[in-house]
């Protein structure tokens, strides 16, 4: 039934593919942070048309499937603009754009949580807008939302198999092609499933520890005060 020899033969190939999955995850995560920050800041713009445009874009991207966005970017955009991107670049960009809209909400909640007095104090001290954001608001808004951002790192990791649709050779597609050669389906898919399970469980354990430490930091001496 379950052949260990075959699993041992599979492992090096799957671990190689795991590096592609990990690369796409990390790059997608970085792009989503950048896009999320831009969306969050632009969503607070003083000009109503900018605010409205940004919120519509965020709403639209969040309401449509990542898979279809990936297809659109990979197949339609080159026809419309003549600009073709590799599967990896398209995939990473799609992940970043899709989860950037979720990340913008995270940033928004962090920025909203900074007390109003901090803005007023910055105005009173006559700090420039740039200085206010960089040295007063963001340093207070960012640390509390780090665990939430970590959760999206896990979400992005779990979504990378979607990119196999545009032939990005990550874990799932590697398992699929191995299965089509050996006609043994059970082991490759089970091993890939376990890999995803183990890595995301470890990650989420780490994030929970981080969350606890943040809480203790905020209420010294009262970690269980919840």
């Amino acid at each position: 039934m379950w052949k260990w020899d075959y699993v041992i033969e599979l492992l090096p190939k799957l671990l190689n593919a795991f590096l592609v999955t990990l690369g796409a995850t990390l790059l997608g995560f970085l792009i989503s942070i950048l896009i999320g920050l831009v969306f969050a800041l632009a969503g607070r713009s003083a000009y109503r048309p900018i605010r409205w445009t940004i919120r519509s874009i965020v709403e639209f991207i969040r309401s449509t499937p990542l898979l279809v966005q990936v297809f659109f970017l990979y197949y339609s955009v080159p026809m419309l603009t003549g600009l073709a991107m590799s599967a990896f670049v398209t995939g990473v960009f799609a992940l970043g754009l899709h989860y950037g809209t979720y990340m913008s909400e995270v940033f928004r909640s962090g920025i909203d949580a900074v007390p109003r007095g901090q803005w007023e104090a910055s105005t009173a001290l006559h700090l420039s807008k740039r200085k206010t954001w960089l040295s007063v608001i963001l340093p207070q808004a960012l640390p509390p939302i780090i665990p939430m951002m970590g959760n999206y790192l896990i979400v992005i990791f779990k979504e990378t198999p979607t990119l196999s649709a545009i032939t990005l050779v990550e874990l799932l597609l590697t398992a699929k092609s191995e299965a089509s050669v050996s006609y043994r389906v059970f082991e490759p898919y089970t091993v890939v499933g376990l890999l995803f399970l183990i890595v995301s469980l470890i990650f989420s354990y780490g994030i929970r520890q981080l969350e606890k430490r943040m809480l203790r930091h905020e209420h010294p001496g009262g970690g269980e005060k919840r």
Partner: protein
Amino acid sequence: MEWLPLLLDGTLITLQVAALSSIVSLILAAAAGLACSSRHTIIRGVANVYVEVFRACSLLVLLFWVYFALPFLDIELSKLTAAVLAIGLNIGAYGSEIVRSSIAAVPKGQYEAGVALNLSGSMRMFRIILPQAVTRMVPPFANLMIELLKATSLVYFITLSDLTFEAMIIRNNYYTWTPQIFGLLLLIYFVLSAFISFSARLLERKLTVWR
């Protein structure tokens, strides 16, 4: 535009998958959410394991496993059953967190009042706690249902002829229409999502009226 009827066929399949898997996920979410709030360690443990495992697993990998790997254990499921099972298990695990946290958010005094009135445990849960918790659950569940709708696009991978799959077939025959086909596809999903959030808002208003 002679391919439009094909997209409509796909929409019907997508709606079918979404409806069936939302029923499965709502049942699982309610069961696991209530079990997580149980006093019995074993019931709580089982529910926690379900939630942790299915939240940590990648949905697409789960779908592949259910559809392609399970037949090796002599469990052969139809495409639709496999899709509904995988999506239902995954979304149900997320939904149980909504149920659990909404129950936990009901003020403690309400429990104590139930105890003071000498109500039984199930009476307390079903007459006092849940009616108040359900109102809190509507907005997060609406978001989850939009996630579920988006997740149905993954059934494309097991060649169930949903919207996304139909669009890919149409693209093979009308290659020059590619941008329009995918643009329209995005628009259809957007309209379906908007319909979900609109109905949720109506439901929320209806539930809060009698409070």
